[in-house]
Every structure is written in structure tokens, then in C-alpha cells.
């Protein structure tokens, strides 16, 4: 009896804070969000209700589906870009850089931008890609083009470039860890068996790093999917993403019910994605020991 009480006390001491955290800052808000999704907007505000009109509106009005599909598309491109950029970088850091000091320095230099304001980093791309920007100056001064091009900024490509730049550390971090954990002996074993570096990469290193690719891709995708800054800063008139729609419903439109319903749809999409990535990860998991 005393033991039970003591166990309970220490259990509470240990977990009450994180449990309270989860309950108050996650479970309760999600519950509120989901229930507000059934409320009714009535100018100028909204009132509690239970109806599915908001969901009907989301799935029947093309403006919402268009934006959701666009957001999925952009997040996919960002994820692909981050893999294409982040994988060779992580590979280079782990396998090519011999000096541990230099490797750590380079790794930190990839991570350090995370400490710089996200807004500032996104803003930088405006300066680079603009009509009067650094890229155009370079192109004009080298004579590649006669006049500045306006194709670099204020479109979806600029959003993808900016988001890839911003989120690439989230790809590099898990990849670096995974690649660094691959025993060098496996690479030696492959080469010992007459297999050159390229096939060694495809048959040994890449399959063993898939967990990192999945983790990085999931993070990058979710972060890009929920982004609202890139559309505002470097996106053009076609840049609206789901997060901007949400922002509008909770701000400008003051339609919290529709906003909540939309947020619930987004939450469901992200959950499906996480499930998918977890399954993939489990299927590909191997025991490195």
C-alpha cells in the first residue's frame, strides 16, 4: 500500500508537468478547434452549433481544394529539393571530410542559420531574387542577360527556393546522424567484396540511410506544408498556401468556424502523412548492431 502510494507520488512528480502540458496545450486546444469547426458563422461573429456546413464549404468551394492541392505540391517540391541538396551535403560531411574538427565546423555552419530569425532568412531571398537583386546584378554585369529578369521573385519557384533554403537543416540533421551511424566496416566490407564506391552507395549506404531520409522528408514536408511566411514575402499572386487561408479565416474573415474546420482538415492530412512515414520507416528499419 505504501509502495503504491509512493509509486503514485513519484509518478505524479515526474509526469504531472508533461501530462499537464500535453493536456492543456495540446489536447484541450485540439478539442476546442475540432468543436469550433462545427459552429456557425453569423455576421458579425459566430455561435456554437453542430453542423457540417463548414466542411461542405471546404470540399465544395474550389478555392479551398485548389489551395490545399497547391500547398501539397509546393511542400512536395520543397521536400525533394531538400533531399537533393541535403543528402549530398550530409554525405560529404560524414564520409568526405576527414577532420572531425572541420566536420563539426561545417555541420554547425549548416545548423547555425536556424538561430537566425526565420523572417530575416526568408527576407534575404527577396534581396537576392528581386528585379534589382543580387542575382540579376550578376546576370546583367556578366552580360548573360541584357535587362534584369523578373522571373525569379514573386512566384512559386521563389517560394520553393526560399523554403528549401530555410528547411534544409531539418533534412541534414537526421541524415547526418543516420549516415554517421553507419559502421564504416560495412563500406569496407562492400569494397572488399569488389564493389566500387557508386554501387556501394546504392546498395549499402542509401538503403541504410532511408530512415534519415524519411525523418527529414517528413519534417521538411510538414514544416513547408504549414508555412505562411514564404507566400507573403516571396510568393506572387498565386502564392496563397493553406496556412495563409487559416490566417485569413481567423483574422480578416473572422470566420473561426470555417478556419477551425480547415485546420482540422489540415491536421488530418498531416496525421495521415505521419502515419505513412512511420509505416515506411518501420518497413525499412534495420538493426545496425
Amino acid at each position: 500500500m505504501t509502495l503504491t502510494r509512493r509509486t503514485l507520488a513519484s509518478f505524479l512528480a515526474l509526469f504531472s508537468l508533461p501530462l499537464a502540458w500535453v493536456l492543456l496545450l495540446l489536447v484541450v486546444p485540439y478539442a476546442i478547434m475540432i468543436s469550433v469547426g462545427f459552429w456557425t458563422r453569423q455576421f458579425p461573429l459566430f455561435h456554437p452549433d453542430f453542423q457540417f456546413g463548414n466542411y461542405v464549404q471546404i470540399f465544395s468551394d474550389p478555392q479551398y481544394t485548389t489551395v490545399i492541392v497547391r500547398t501539397l505540391k509546393i511542400a512536395t517540391f520543397v521536400t525533394l529539393g531538400a533531399v537533393i541538396l541535403g543528402y549530398p551535403l550530409a554525405y560529404f560531411l560524414v564520409f568526405t571530410v576527414r577532420s572531425a574538427a572541420l566536420r563539426n565546423l561545417l555541420y554547425m555552419s549548416v545548423i547555425v542559420p536556424l538561430w537566425v530569425s526565420y523572417l530575416l532568412r526568408a527576407y534575404t531571398w527577396k534581396i537576392i531574387l528581386g528585379t534589382d537583386g543580387a542575382l540579376n546584378s550578376l546576370l546583367v554585369s556578366t552580360g548573360i542577360v541584357d535587362a534584369p529578369l523578373d522571373i525569379f521573385l514573386y512566384n512559386q519557384t521563389a517560394m520553393v527556393i526560399t523554403l528549401v533554403y530555410i528547411f534544409v537543416p531539418f533534412m541534414v540533421m537526421p541524415l547526418f546522424t543516420v549516415l554517421d551511424n553507419i559502421p564504416r566496416r560495412l563500406i569496407e566490407a562492400s569494397e572488399d567484396l569488389g564493389v566500387g564506391p557508386f554501387m556501394t552507395f546504392w546498395k549499402v549506404i542509401f538503403p541504410l540511410s532511408l530512415g534519415g531520409v524519411i525523418a527529414g522528408a517528413t519534417m521538411t514536408f510538414c514544416l513547408a506544408f504549414g508555412d505562411f511566411v514564404a507566400p507573403v514575402l516571396v510568393g506572387g499572386p498565386n502564392g496563397t498556401m493553406v496556412a495563409n487561408l487559416l490566417q485569413t479565416q481567423f483574422g480578416t474573415a473572422l470566420n473561426w468556424p470555417l478556419g477551425s474546420a480547415l485546420a482540422t482538415v489540415v491536421l488530418a492530412l498531416v496525421l495521415v502523412l505521419l502515419q505513412l512515414s512511420m509505416r515506411l520507416d518501420r518497413a525499412g528499419r534495420v538493426d545496425l548492431a
Binding site: 496563397t240 487561408l245 490566417q247 483574422g251
Partner: protein, 354 residues
């Protein structure tokens, strides 16, 4: 799953500071204002604080739509808000504000009656808002990029300037387009008219480089040669861009379809505990110090000609349309659209369109 807005972190930070300041000064009289940047400039606010003994804490909004969003999210922090004409009725209808006893607002009688007696201000037998400052929205363009001087809103829809056009990211895009299409009932468009407006705006999208979200962003777009023509706050953007001396000029013009007019006013948040300070503030803003102070810090027009009588030069009075209430008639003054939700939905659909 992010629901914050771009401005939220900033506002949250301000709010946090405000709450802290409030707690610290719990005993002193205080006043919390939710307003526009430049509307609580130190220069005249410090004077008010000394005179009234009320400690002012200002938080800022980025658009008129932020007022409702902030107040709906639990706005007990604010005593006074300063929405524009087209947002005033909604504040009353949503129950965010309480009626104002104009007898307690010194100088209220000398405000242009066209403003102070506005039907949106005086409703249900009470007064709900006290005018603060006003101005217009016209068009600005780069003369060096145009062979002929534009004189119509149609320039915003001219394929010749593809990729060089900007427009305010606001429901007012509907007003501009409706007027371009020749509709006079700008604030009460029929469904057919709204459909036509929507189609026109979607047709215009490929011509748009970027919808601007703040005056600062438009200044940047102009200064960096991203766009050559846009609608803009009269007096503000052209001055800001030209001050940067980029080697080119931007010029304002009033299109033949008229410019738009706006007016910001003070409203008293429901059940505010700081009523005394709130009335003192409204009175102060109708004094010479208040009216000249805000006109100076923003570049907009005063609403109380008597107050600025002695604190403005004749030249400045002319520029700021003092006692030229006729000018108002040359503008399309903002009103709250009859079907605000519908307007917002149309504007959002335009932005979401592929």
C-alpha cells in the same frame, strides 16, 4: 497546424509588454490603445501623459480586420480602438464597443459634422465613434515607364504593364474593380456584379507582380523597381519612395473614376475600466496638440479644423484639405459593405484561384 498570423508574434510581444507594464503601473491611471503605427507617436502622447496623468500603452494592428480578430480573441486588454469607416459598424454589431457620451469629449462639436454625424457613427440613438484622422487612397505610377499619363483605374488592368502592377491585398480591391467596371453601388454589389468583379480580378492576376500587404511593402516594391503602378495611401507612399532617391520618381494621380476616402475614429471598448482616461484621450486628440500631432506624424488629414487653426501653416492647411470638406465629395468614401462576408469570400477566392 499554425493559426498565427504574420503579425501575431509581434503583437503578442507587444501585448506581453503591455500586460507587464499594466501590472507594474497598477495603481496609476492607464490607457491601452489598439491602433495604427504612427497614431501613438511619443511626441504628442508624452504630452498627453503629462497633462492627464494617464499612462498610455499602445499596441498596433496591420489591417482593419485585426481589430475584430484581436477583440474576439479576448480583448480585455484594450480601452480604445481606432478602426476605419468601413469597420466601425461591425465593431458595434459584434458588441465589442459601448456608446460614447459626446458631452465628455471636448472639441467634439468642432469636428466636421459630415464625419461626426455619419450614419455609421450615430446609430441606435447613440454615438459610437469619434473621428480621429482621414485621408484618401489614390493611384501612384512611374512616369518614366509610361508614354502617356494614365488617368483611369484601367491602368491596373492594362496587359501592357504585365508583371509591373500591384494592388492592396484587401477587400478594397473589389471596390476598385467595381468602379472600373462602372458600378456605382460599390458597397452593395449584387451577386452578378460580384461575379463579374471576381472574374475581372482573376483575369488581372497574371498582370499582378504582388499584392501589397502594408505601406512599407509597397514602398519597397516601388523602390526596388518590382512594380510601376499601384493603388496607395495618398501622401504616404510617393513621399517615402521619392525620399529614397533611387534615381526615379513616383507620382500620385486621382483616376477619373475618383479616388477612395477613408477615416479612422476612436471607439470605446465595452466595459473598459479606464473610462476617465479614455475620455481624456479622446478630448486630447481633438485639441491642437492631438490633431496637429497625429497629422504631423502620419501625413494624413485632421478631422477638427478648429483644433488645427493655430498649429498649422496656411500652406499645410491647404495640403491637408483643412476646411475643404468639399474634397470629401470628390472621393468614394469607404462604407462597410452590406454583405461583408460575401466580399471577403470573393476576395479570398480571387487570391486562392490558380
Amino acid at each position: 497546424m499554425r493559426m498565427r498570423t504574420l503579425k501575431t508574434p509581434m503583437i503578442a510581444a507587444f501585448a506581453a509588454v503591455a500586460i507587464t507594464a499594466q501590472t507594474l503601473a497598477a495603481t496609476a491611471a492607464e490607457l491601452n490603445i489598439l491602433t495604427w503605427e504612427g497614431y501613438a507617436a511619443d511626441k504628442f502622447i508624452s504630452k498627453f501623459q503629462t497633462e492627464s496623468g494617464c499612462k498610455v500603452t499602445a499596441s498596433y494592428v496591420g489591417s482593419n480586420d485585426d481589430f475584430a480578430a484581436k477583440l474576439a480573441a479576448g480583448g480585455g486588454v484594450y480601452d480604445i480602438i481606432t478602426p476605419s469607416l468601413d469597420t466601425v459598424p461591425m465593431m458595434r454589431l459584434a458588441g465589442f464597443v459601448q456608446a460614447i457620451d459626446t458631452a465628455k469629449v471636448q472639441g467634439h462639436d468642432s469636428i466636421y459634422p459630415e464625419f461626426s454625424k455619419n450614419s455609421d457613427f450615430v446609430a441606435e440613438g447613440a454615438t459610437w465613434a469619434v473621428p480621429l484622422v482621414w485621408g484618401s487612397v489614390s493611384l501612384i505610377y512611374r512616369p518614366d515607364k509610361f508614354t502617356t499619363k494614365p488617368d483611369s483605374i484601367s491602368v491596373l488592368f492594362d496587359p501592357a504593364y504585365k508583371g509591373k502592377i500591384s494592388l492592396w491585398d484587401d477587400k478594397s480591391a473589389i471596390y476598385w474593380t467595381a468602379r472600373y467596371l462602372g458600378y456605382n453601388n460599390v458597397f452593395d454589389l449584387t451577386d452578378e456584379q460580384l461575379d463579374a468583379v471576381k472574374a475581372k480580378l482573376i483575369e488581372q492576376k497574371p498582370l499582378i507582380r504582388k499584392y501589397w500587404a502594408s505601406a512599407g511593402e509597397l514602398t519597397e516594391l516601388m523602390a526596388n523597381q518590382e512594380v510601376y503602378v499601384s493603388n496607395a495611401w495618398t501622401g504616404l507612399t510617393s513621399k517615402d519612395v521619392n525620399n529614397l532617391k533611387k534615381g526615379f520618381e513616383v507620382v500620385e494621380f486621382t483616376p477619373k473614376e475618383k479616388a477612395e476616402g477613408w477615416m479612422d475614429s476612436m471607439m470605446l471598448v465595452k466595459d473598459t475600466p479606464n473610462q476617465d482616461c479614455a475620455y481624456k484621450f479622446m478630448s486630447f486628440m481633438q485639441s491642437a496638440d492631438g490633431q496637429c500631432g497625429i497629422a504631423e506624424s502620419t501625413g494624413y488629414f485632421p478631422v477638427n479644423p478648429k483644433a488645427v487653426e493655430s498649429c498649422m501653416s496656411d500652406e499645410l492647411k491647404k495640403e491637408r484639405q483643412v476646411n475643404n470638406i468639399e474634397f470629401v465629395k470628390s472621393l468614394v468614401m469607404w462604407q462597410q459593405p452590406k454583405r461583408l462576408d460575401k466580399y471577403l469570400e470573393v476576395w479570398n477566392a480571387v487570391k486562392a484561384a490558380p
